[in-house]
Symmetry: C2
Subunit: 332 residues, 2 copies
DNA sequence: ATGGCCTAGTAAACCGGTTTAAAAGCGGCT
DNA sequence: AGCCGCTTTTAAACCGGTTTACTAGGCCAT
């Protein structure tokens, strides 16, 4: 294993000189520089990253924490983040927190031990006090997609409220007046904002969101299905449902099929996320597109700005757009 | 930042003693041990992993390389692998190679610099000479799902041939005799094995796979669509298509829709992979299920066995199963 | 006492870089 | 010749652990 000392010997110089030259901290007279370059090439020298981390304190590695890397939106974000990190000369290590606070804290600890220069955190639960405390203690964290209450960190969020508005407007345009809302977990900022925008736009049209047609629960297919069954079994049925995540919408579809309810004939459905297969569902799902590319890219950029002490924006809002496909029928 | 020297001071011992005690390399008399434990607790000491790696040479981190973490099968494997690694006390760092040989080689280099103890490699191209050389040089690599020709490493592969057979048998049972095959890239072992099993079983039934009905190309929706168009525009159409990956099948569906060909009425379709949304497609796709959980879990286990010098199996074959849904109609 | 043999604990080198403070080399000026 | 100031290069400390080889102390047998 060839080390910097070998290179120094070969070039007839001191290790310090080699190190500083290779890191661009000094300029050597061309002839000396060439001696080093030649030695590096001849010995095929690669600096040992671990050693560098230990002494310099920088790992040149960023971390991305997701609750579940197998969830399409998250893996798409991870993919985009990896791209941007690589482009900027950093490496990205991806972690699965499985939504466990414990695991999140463990990963955040990597910041203190310098294994990670910074972390982009995607989280999915409301129990955030401990994480917030740690984030504030070390800094070097950006939040993507979902909030950690009380943490001071740059945030990259979707324009959830605008998305909610888009959905309301679309359904109203299509003639719907009896509209239900399948929400995510209570207290989750993404869900709350989507609801707020949705409700506001309904209100603007003289409609209101009925409390008994607002069903909270976790972001899962099962919750979507259960909520749909509740709605469809009630004496009065909505003509349209806004499920504020595509997984929920998939659950609604499953329930509708089981109950023999035609989509979109008897029930219109809108989702949120535009997971990459949402257009392939039956019927192709009308949904609000969140741009995973932008999340990943901007997340990494914001993190790097933070690390370099450049000014960062408090909250970046990633625009969303409505993708109208075939799961909404016009009524009236 | 509290270090081992601080703990040693607090406990009135030497750093070496603390280190060896904490790593279970020596047993101290209970009272001394307690002094250390107390000091650790009092100072909230956490060993610096980087420093440990540098001196001991072990990183307790495993790497998983995938061509594209946003591809459902891969992200599912990553998720399962992360689970198993954590269970065994290792951390898993996930990398996106974007199918670039260059990137793969860079990541493999982490083995030499001890950033990674071992690597589970998922690859997706046939240009494998350089990777094979490096793998053989350092060892500590297992191959998942796809081969790297010439590499000596434990392999975790699907029972591709068996899968191909299952599909052939199913289509034959449903009365099909005119069957086309949309293959993956030429030379890719998974595609070849699937074809081999498929062809063998057709042959056993007195049928043969027509060369002009065997279309190679990359694993992408576009290739699936193009192949489907070629098949559907020919004077004689097959009654069924086996697309040897679900992405390809999705492409076939798209093309069929565009050409107004009813599925499964006019064309039956079988995929391979069972990506998590394959059952949600229209029509729900009949496909061969590859168990991502098993891939991830067994990959990590095999890797750990390899690292510990325990005997490893040359090739583990992960069983597959046919999931019959609605994309195959019976004919004749 | 003396030596042999444990056990408990330690000093110091080491991993492979980075970084700081200082030395060496060199030309010009008095 | 002696000194200044500038550039080029280096010795040595450091990051925070691990590991090896060794010492100190206690016990038993001779």
């Amino acid at each position: 294993m060839v080390g910097i000392r070998d290179v120094a010997n070969e070039a007839g110089l001191a290790p310090a000189t080699v190190s500083r030259y290779l890191n661009g901290q000094i300029v050597l007279r061309p002839e000396t520089g060439k001696r080093i370059d030649d030695a590096v090439k001849k010995l095929n020298y690669r600096p040992n990253v671990i050693a560098r981390r230990l002494s310099s304190g920088d790992s040149e590695t960023l971390g991305l924490v997701t609750p579940d890397i197998s969830y399409p939106l998250f893996s798409a974000i991870a993919s985009a983040a990896e791209m941007e990190a690589t482009r900027q000369g950093y490496q990205l290590a991806i972690f699965n927190s499985r939504n466990s606070v414990e695991t999140e804290l463990n990963i955040l600890r990597h910041l203190e031990t310098r294994q990670l220069d910074g972390i982009a955190l995607l989280t999915n639960h409301t129990d955030t006090a401990a994480a917030a405390e740690r984030i504030n203690a070390v800094g070097k964290v950006v939040l993507i997609d979902e909030d950690v209450t009380g943490a001071e960190a740059p945030r990259i969020f979707a324009d959830n409220e605008g998305g909610g508005r888009l959905v309301a407007r679309h359904l109203i345009e299509m003639g719907h007046r009896d509209i239900a809302f399948i929400a995510g977990p209570e207290g989750m900022i993404s869900a709350e904002e989507r609801r707020a925008g949705f409700a506001a736009e309904l209100a603007a049209a003289g409609l209101s969101l009925r409390p008994d047609w607002t069903l909270h629960g976790e972001y899962s297919e099962d919750h979507g299905a259960e909520a749909a069954i509740t709605l469809l079994r009630a004496e009065q049925r909505p003509t349209a449902v806004f499920a504020c995540a595509d997984v929920l919408a998939v659950g609604v579809m499953r329930a509708a099929r089981e109950l023999g309810v035609a989509l979109p004939g008897e029930l219109s459905l809108v989702g949120f996320d535009d997971m990459n297969f949402s257009g392939l569902l039956h019927p192709p799902l009308t949904t609000v597109r969140q741009d995973a590319e932008v999340f990943g890219r901007e997340g990494v950029r914001a993190l790097l700005r933070l690390l370099k002490g450049e000014p960062t924006v408090e909250v970046v809002r990633v625009p969303v757009s409505l993708v109208a496909r075939d799961s909404v029928a016009s009524v009236g």
